[in-house]
Symmetry: C2
Subunit: 73 residues, 2 copies
């Protein structure tokens, strides 16, 4: 298996608000040897990547919303 | 921007239990034109990828746990 994992934190700064509809996917990385912080990176529909604040209530709500969406189908 | 997005569902089947400690990162994709289901794909520390059930209580707990870990630091 190829382990192409970055060896340091990926998010120098984070934002705490984002429009749910612009999100293509979210990547959540728990703390580890590479970085002591949880990192949440959103890939947007236009290909841009933004770092979200994992502690921000809105970010948590967005994740809940995405998880609940599967249910609606 | 390069949009290397898959055009169909990535998870033919999902599992509902996983050991939190084996997870390297999680990718959460909301439903879209490519797939009507929310997909949660875990990349494990050994490089393997597994699909998790977004509705499974344990999977939701793991995501909460990862988000809360940032707080502890």
């Amino acid at each position: 298996a190829v382990l192409a994992t970055e060896l340091r934190c990926q998010c120098p700064r984070t934002i705490s608000r984002i429009d749910f509809k612009t999100i293509q996917s979210l990547k959540v990385t728990p703390p580890g040897p590479h970085c002591t912080q949880t990192e949440v990176i959103a890939t947007l529909k236009d290909g841009q990547e933004v770092c979200l604040d994992p502690e921000a209530p809105l970010v948590r709500k967005i994740i809940q919303k995405i998880l609940n969406k599967g249910k609606a189908n």
